[in-house]
Symmetry: C2
Subunit: 573 residues, 2 copies
């Protein structure tokens, strides 16, 4: 059996290696247009930041062997034609036309099975000046090296176009290199596709501390260079930004040319359509990695979410299907789980946002829950802010967003796993997770979030988010906010609104007569629990117009008044 | 409705607080024999180690309020009778007899619902001298303070009796205080109930580096003191150990006296038997926390696994059931998930071990997989050693053990979540987890382990563990071990057996004639992948007697020869 694989990063080499192990006699050839294969593309921002010292570390095995065609032949038993472009598929003859980029010779090679792992590439908007020397995209080791060189050569002012995953990782790398950084984003907030506005606000607040300049709701319309073709200015619809380095990070689109020319079907997302076995509309041609679309496990809709880990799984499924390894030859789909690091901040999400779920017609509910990732008494405890989105109909979790300096990754992966199996908030609340103080609070954040969500879905608690409170006020609703924290907390920082009164929780019962019955009474504390307790107390005493504000002062993204500093710890009481 | 709760730590206060929020008018009283309630018992080892500086941090909210009876009354709306012992239940009259420990007066108080959260206490073996001043158990803040004081007063040689969770946490605290520490364990290895022998070996190797003395298969038969009643020696069946401080950490048993006297049924484990709503055999009497047994989610057998996080969940379920909050009034059971920290080592487990599963009649398979917790190129990548146990019948994961300096907790919780939902290894392999280099390799350890297990269960790969190889040799089987690593790796460290040959992977095909066909040929590398590839190559070439050794040199717990140092990184190639 002759198998040709087009593309030598992630999906391609994984399919090849797996196939070779399952079918040692199969004749497997990888076609790769570049020189190197199987390099660690996701490591590029860490090379730019300096955390990975040498670009070779992304290209070599840790035995010091460069992953070139010799390596694949000698260690993996695979044929590799690198510096070779796949130019055309003849599906009738089952042949692939290739172009040797060194000798500039064309050749037709036969296949029994063809695997397209052609990847994706940065979307290059048609903006005048985008071909200037200082304008980059981070899409391969070559571009990573050019960006690193630009910093070494003294680039001091960078503009990143696009406030998503790559944008944030590159911003982190730039800040670590003392490069003044502006992020220009066309939408009115960062991570607009994958986070809800309240969680975007948390990220934006964090970036502001590092003096990253955010230009939201702003479009780049041109670049201006100097005489040598170098970059000088980025021109936007809101003004001009000086810059000697620009990273275009608006997104990636799939490389589908080869597939399209061969008459293979593309999906609604513009990426190659494949079935669960990763077969294209031609069953002898498979496709995987950043060139295909996937089914979203929550919405069951096709989505284009290119990810390195998904590409590896695709490669394995393709190999399993070709080798007739039935137990694992279908790819179930994706949740779009992703995580990024900016400084000490982790940003993770999986499933759907509240915004997206609502637009898709879900009747959903969500909760905001800021909490410490370890017990209060443990010195390394840090805050993480969690948002859970659940389906009202069946109480299943359909989305999660987590942002914070504490341990985000674990809760993200636990929730992604739970969502995969259709977990309800009630089931999530009973997970038996590993508890010890260096790892989590006795009631893990994921479990606490599930309990909070369970209360809300079952109408035990009544709550609103800071954004809803703000909106109610904008709409002219009359309401009273009751800050139930201690005197000391109130003095240290408080919400800057005239319709806030301060009544500490332990005095609430005796001062209840002060509260109106003709408008919403919204209790709140630092993070939520005492606000909730206050609300339950008031409702128990007959104040049916009471509810509490999720996230409390901690997640209030609007103006606050700051007084004396408080103790360092965050109350979760 | 009048609710009486016996026990003021974990389960009791949780049930009380939840019930108060659900039923603000319920009359709730907590009876606690000690002075303080709701302290953080799991934090005690970190107070002894010095990571938590002040014992008050375990007793106060982070607003600086001590969790005493005033706190519960003022902030939580609960009545508390502390320094009060519950002495008898009159089930006919629905009354509880209590004894005020200060005034020494008895009283009968009526209840509609009674909650027993009486906890557990250390098993005190009837060994002569166990009442000497220097012999402690770590079971409350009072004992934690005494142990800390002993170190401050100059204790230099400690013996810990019991090589389980508490033993290891206390050992860590002692080493951090420069106390020479001996662990005496009656079984022939540490963590014998919750880890398989290969994983126990990994932990033991790690402790050896810190000069912790392990006396395994050893029983303490007495203690010897000096004239002042202080401790001098620990006498075992194998000799005498000098010690000025002893921690009895052999285990905990449930406090069931009150329940037994009232004629409530105990389960086979000796703990109070409860139904899914946490009701005892008297439906008006609930029990939860360290005094009850649970159903194991994998085996469906009753187990006694006292845990702080479980106790909190019990408290919530009890409150939900009493308050008729139907959506979450049943406790499904436990996996026995637990994690401990010793130095930089994390030790986690969930579900059943291979040993236990086999003894319960499971037809199970397991795999060993040592791997880096992040990509090789990422500077903070550290090793974690994982063992997965799966049911051959349905390919479900039934157990996991993870030990290492890398990120253990996340994989443990992901696998515990997957097990909760009956995940098969095939499903696990397709989880969409959050990938970025600071958090995990592109193929997360949990997913890689699932793939390895899937190969083994489906007979794609054929492998044996180091323990099996050792056993085969002990049994006199002839076999050949083939080390397929590079020359440099071989020179740096190798397995010390005469039946090992060294043939680097890239030379294996041409040197195949050297390999025998009349006995097992067992390939191995540093961790497993190249050993597996070598085995697949040999089997593809017709050598049907080939298999590979899981875990490779990294998990070989028997003698090794060490030569020149190698590069720091661990190969996962």
């Amino acid at each position: 059996m002759k198998i040709i694989i087009v593309g030598g990063v992630a999906c391609g080499p994984k399919a090849a290696a797996r196939l070779h192990r399952l079918r040692p006699h199969a004749d497997i050839t990888i076609i790769e247009k570049g020189e190197l294969l199987s390099y660690a593309g996701c490591g590029m921002p860490y090379y730019i930041s300096g955390e990975v010292h040498n670009i070779n570390e992304l290209m070599k095995t840790n035995l010091g062997i460069v992953r070139d065609s010799h390596y694949f032949r000698n260690f993996k038993g695979l044929n590799v034609r690198n510096l070779t472009l796949a130019t055309r598929i003849d599906r009738q003859k089952k042949q692939l036309e290739i172009l040797d980029l060194q000798s500039i010779t064309r050749e037709m090679i036969p296949y029994d099975k063809l695997i397209l792992a052609t990847g994706g590439q940065p979307i290059m908007p048609p903006i005048p000046g985008i071909d200037l020397k200082g304008v980059h995209s981070l899409h391969d080791l070559h571009s990573a090296r050019k960006i690193k060189d630009a910093i070494r050569d003294g680039a001091k002012k960078a503009v990143i176009i696009g406030g998503g995953a790559i944008g944030i990782e590159v911003a982190d790398a730039f800040i670590k290199n003392d490069v003044e950084t502006t992020i220009i984003e066309a939408k009115n907030r960062l991570f607009a596709k994958v986070l809800d506005p309240d969680m975007s606000a948390t990220v934006q607040d964090y970036l502001a501390v590092d003096d990253i300049i955010l230009q939201l709701s702003t479009r780049v319309i041109g670049f201006e260079g100097n005489e040598e073709g170098g970059l000088k200015k980025v021109i936007t619809d809101r003004g001009i930004v000086d810059a000697d380095l620009v990273i275009n990070a608006i997104g990636v689109h799939p490389n589908t040319l080869l597939a399209e020319d061969a008459g293979l079907e593309l999906g609604v997302t513009g990426a190659i359509r494949v079935n669960a076995h990763m077969q294209t509309t031609d069953p002898d041609i498979y496709a995987g990695g950043d060139c295909v679309e996937s089914i979203h496990l929550i919405t069951r809709q096709p989505v284009y979410i290119p990810m390195g880990d998904t590409a590896n799984k695709h490669g394995r499924v393709i190999a399993n299907h070709i080798a007739e390894f039935y137990p694992s030859n279908s790819f179930p789909g994706v949740l779009g789980t992703a995580i990024y690091k900016y400084g000490d901040l982790s940003i993770g999400h999986s499933g759907v946002t509240h915004t997206m779920a609502t637009s898709l017609g879900y009747d959903c509910e969500s909760i905001l829950y800021p909490g410490l990732d370890k017990p209060e008494f443990f010195p390394t405890a840090r805050r993480i802010d969690m948002k859970l989105v659940a389906d009202r109909k069946n109480h299943r979790i359909i989305g999660v967003q987590i942002v914070g300096e504490g341990e985000v990754s674990k809760r993200l992966d636990v929730l992604a796993t739970a969502m995969t199996f259709g977990a309800t908030v009630e089931q999530l609340a009973h997970l038996d997770l590993g508890y010890a103080p260096p790892y989590s609070p006795a009631i893990d954040n994921a479990i606490n979030a599930a309990n909070i969500c369970c209360n809300k879905l079952n109408d035990v608690s009544r709550s609103v988010t800071p954004a809803q409170v703000w909106q109610m006020r904008q709409n002219g609703s009359k309401l009273l906010l009751v800050d139930v924290r201690t005197q000391r907390e109130y003095q240290s920082q408080r919400i800057d609104l005239e319709d806030v009164v301060h009544i500490p929780l332990n005095l609430l019962r005796q001062r209840m007569a002060e509260l109106p019955r003709d408008r919403p009474v919204i209790t709140f504390c630092k993070v939520g629990l005492r606000g909730y307790e206050a609300c339950q107390l008031l409702r128990g005493l007959g104040l049916d117009n009471a509810c509490f504000m999720e996230g409390g002062v901690a997640l209030w993204p609007y103006p606050k008044i700051t007084g004396q500093p408080e103790q360092p710890n965050l109350s979760t009481q």
